[in-house]
């Protein structure tokens, strides 16, 4: 743990140091370039705003109405049948759709079952091994104005499914 924490806290400052050193060496006007790049960031953030508002509102309607929970309830028997622990199903379903909701669920599962329980470990692994497909799709395609996304969503969701199944199998094999 010590080494990992050390790497993740040192990495960004050291990267910064290398960039500034090399740039100054090559006589790049560092501050001016920083400001120029930063202006792009402001523009980008504002162009993202409507995409995020739209997507987050639609997801929250689905969640707050209870429709998402009902759907999870509906398919639970099938998932339990193939060996998915029932406690983990809501997390597995929500992980690709909403990052904040998934993090909340992971925290709650770890809190309720304990971090070192089977469910706690499974939730931890699941949280870390896939990412919020819908969010990434919205941000990346939204920011550069991609309208026709072709097979991107299918690929993303299928990869999530594989990741979730893989987490269950691996955690069962190692800690089960």
């Amino acid at each position: 743990m010590g080494v990992i924490t050390l790497i993740s806290t040192w990495l960004i400052p050291c990267f910064l140091l290398v960039v500034l050193f090399v740039a100054t060496w090559k006589r790049v006007p560092t501050y001016e370039m920083f400001v120029e790049g930063g202006k792009d960031g402001v523009k980008m953030a504002f162009s993202l705003l409507p995409f995020l508002v739209g997507m987050i509102v639609a997801i929250s309607i689905l969640r707050s109405s209870g429709a998402l929970d009902a759907f999870i309830q509906f398919i639970s028997p099938l998932l339990i049948f193939i060996g998915v622990p029932p406690e983990i199903i809501p997390l597995a379903m929500v992980r690709p759709i909403s990052g904040t909701a998934a993090l909340g669920m992971t925290t709650e599962l770890i809190g309720t079952h304990g971090p070192d329980s089977f469910i706690g470990k499974l939730a931890s692994t699941m949280q870390g091994s896939t990412d919020t497909t819908l969010y990434i799709l919205t941000i990346y395609f939204g920011a550069v104005g991609i309208r026709k996304m072709r097979y991107a969503l299918k690929v993303g969701l299928l990869a999530d499914l594989v990741g979730i199944i893989a987490s269950i199998i691996i955690v069962t094999l190692i800690f089960g």
Binding site: E36, S65, L103, K121, S124, M126, S129, I174
Partner: protein, 193 residues
């Protein structure tokens, strides 16, 4: 596609609320979540400004090209339709590196930059092959060290907070490799049509 999914999520929610008696919650969530999205964007501004500023310096200093050259043999295989010396390679690489170390904050701006470069290459508003591959890699999460999860485990007094690093790495590898394979399958299927 996204239009239908988006409208579908909202419509299903509203219709369900009519019968479930949760219209109050939906009404509240509508405005709260809009506000949440704005707060999220404001949070993003600081990250985007900082990282795009730094990356602009790195680009001017030739660091991105250097990185791209270093890992060219691997990246060229994964993204065959990006020209070898294109700056997109450098951004893709920075995004992957940031992801691996669990620096999601740094990964997003670089990912957007990579997308921008790839869009310049394709010049249309249709997702190109490499864009989808890149997206697939990102959605499968390349995180090898899940810092957020470790910190949550520590908060709840885990006996061994980093115990899940190994399982996460294996699961991530499987999901990333599968993402690449699934992406290839869909790509070749789209060619045949």
């Amino acid at each position: 596609m996204v239009n239908i999914i988006w409208a579908f999520m909202a419509a299903v929610g509203i219709v369900y609320a009519m019968f479930n008696g949760t219209m109050d919650e939906v009404n509240k969530a509508l405005f709260e979540s809009a506000e949440e999205a704005v707060t999220l964007t404001i949070g993003l501004i600081s990250i985007l400004v900082f990282w795009l500023g730094i990356m602009k310096i790195a680009e001017e200093a030739g660091i991105l090209t250097f990185l791209a050259n270093l890992f060219r043999p691997i990246i060229v295989r994964i993204f065959p339709d990006i020209p070898k010396d294109h700056p997109a390679m450098g951004y893709i690489l920075s995004n992957i590196t940031a992801n691996i170390f669990g620096l999601g904050n740094a990964a997003t701006p670089m990912g957007i930059k990579a997308m921008e470069q790839m869009k310049e290459l394709s010049g249309t508003d249709t997702a190109s092959r490499s864009m989808i591959t890149f997206l697939a890699l990102n959605t499968s999460s390349l995180t090898l060290i899940p810092t957020t999860v470790i910190s949550i485990r520590m908060q709840y007094g885990s006996g061994s907070p980093t115990e899940i690093v190994a399982t996460t790495i294996i699961a991530t590898l499987i999901s990333s490799v599968s993402a690449l394979i699934i992406d290839r399958i869909f790509y070749y299927r789209s060619l045949r049509r």
